[in-house]
Symmetry: none
Subunit: 190 residues, 4 copies
DNA sequence: TATGAATGAGTTTTCATTCAT
DNA sequence: CATGAATGAAAACTCATTCAT
């Protein structure tokens, strides 16, 4: 009966997305979730634990959206699909997305436990890049470096689009994607 | 006589860097800065104002470090110098740097006033890129897109180095820089 | 279970009566009522709400004392009973009475909501005067004007007696009552 | 050079009238009066002293308005002029009037010192009533009782008119005045 | 005489957490 | 399992007053 637990997590996600992490109070959360304040403490040790669990939960959601259909098509097609999904996700006003951004600078992000969880969840991405390296398609560099070069721009572009700080055509975004792809690729052009 | 104001800003920077933004209380700040609680309110309207002013102050510090010697050398040299400065800055454990990361997801980042301030402060960077575009050295794309492709990876790499999430050689980092440079450049190679 | 709510109201009444409204602090109130500071906020939205509710509560007390036995005897007897009750009430050093005087110049007294409450609670008084007008016993004037002429002197006399600003015999007070009654009455004396 | 003292008193009057006594802070007062905060303490011992002095000052203003032309005409004419002046004064939205109402329930109103001041200032009123008593025109009662019967209704009516709690014709108000006059008069009507 | 920066105790209010029911 | 009343420490902010200049 994880019904209540989920109810609580979804309410927390909503409150964080709409009012900000610093406005997440256990009483408001209880009211929004339709449970008693004390009930939250049946499912989560304390507020910190709740946030950690929510972070995992939201990360899971994001990962499952990104890694959907990860195996279809050529490497270039996979790359482009991923890259645009990242942009779209950042662009979206979804609760999951809006709340996720607020976890990144919290104590505990650096905890090895959380690192391990993140690594595991994005395992398919690592595999994808390892394969591509083995096939000589992309630069033989540390995966984290490659991810930074390839996808950090997509994250930043998505965020800026959402905030309205970036006005450009869809075509320009497509060109940006190609530049990121080109950046990590090994050009075979004669 | 902005002595006290500066004292307060430096203390705030320190507390945020070491204990996190959510642990910045006006009492603790007053004690750390060695002033009375009420004194803070002589220099800053309220807590929000304090944070906004601190953000400006830290942004100023970062910009002045980054843009030092901006005009020396060829475009490629300028690019590499900037890119590595960004990595180094992110890598540093300085209060300014550690606290800066925590402002990004705060209400007010989107405020047009702050946008204008940021734009003004990084004006030299815009000029650099406009020139390079005019000289046919880099892709004719929106500057924000170019910055995202060129420098977001550097920011991410610096942060990951600081957090210990990235273990790679200096040589690999140098290669990453070259890939970013290549990504936005127009290759004249015959 | 309005036990705590009442405890708080009675303490507030006491503090206001003895120390003045401007000395009513939520901390002192909590201590005096024997509850935690936070508990007050379970029963009252904020300080303003507490004061509004207290005003209603005290008004209720006063009205129920005044309107007791309102229907017994002739009009003149009713009038005299009321008039002296008002004097006695003002003369008393009761917490209710002492605190009531301090609400009158507060924001919110003019609020239509409060006006309606007051009107409703003193409805029997209105009826009494309407009847007397219909029977040709008192002047056909707006009720509020009649109340002002008839009872404001009683309020003022009670207050002055309490404060020791008025030294006169009980007989003189009785004559004052008769003058007020005579003022609004239609004299049938041949 | 009581210029500054007066400047401060007028600003205090204004702030109390518009924002309420509880919003009178020494800093706001200093700003509004255009003096330094410390300067206020050259002219007044502390905040309490300031309020006491302001009360006297405003009382003086009110008395001088009321007692203007006090000696012109017959007793009845004097009475009516006074009574209507009281109503008009209460009806006014003047700073003096609006602020005065807020002093009445403050510690210090009962102080003998203040009582003496009030008595002295309204001395002409006492004389007027003593004369009328000697001439057999009004009831031989304690002056304070007579004032209560005669003028408290006028005060209440003025206040209610200002607050919009009373809707009646000017003619009705005139009749109310006559009833008050009749109440204290000795009717010689055969 | 006048200034205004500085003080620090005091204010109202919120909130994570507990525990008797 | 679930409730929600109660707690009390801590938060942001105000303000009367002082004092070196």
């Amino acid at each position: 009966m994880d019904n209540k637990r989920d109810l609580i997590l979804r309410s927390a996600e909503k409150i964080i997305a709409t009012a900000g992490l610093h406005n997440l109070s256990m009483q408001k959360l209880a009211i929004d979730a339709g449970v008693a304040a004390g009930t939250i403490y049946r499912y989560f040790k304390d507020k910190e634990d709740l946030i950690i669990e929510l972070r995992k939960d939201v990360l899971q959601q994001i990962a499952s959206k990104l890694l959907e259909n990860i195996n279809e098509g050529s490497f270039d097609e996979k790359f482009r699909r991923l890259w645009f999904k990242i942009v779209e996700l950042g662009r979206e006003q979804s609760h999951a997305n809006l709340s996720f951004a607020q976890y990144s600078h919290l104590p505990g992000v650096d905890a090895p436990e959380h690192q391990a969880f993140e690594r595991e969840i994005f395992q398919p991405l690592h595999q994808l890049f390892e394969q591509a390296k083995n096939q000589g398609m992309i630069q033989k560099l540390d995966n984290t470096l490659l991810f930074s070069i390839a996808f950090e721009p997509a994250i930043a572009i998505g965020k800026r689009l959402r905030r309205g700080h970036l006005e450009c055509t869809e075509n320009e975004i497509r060109r940006a994607c190609e530049l990121c792809l080109k950046a990590i690729s090994i050009n075979l052009q004669l």
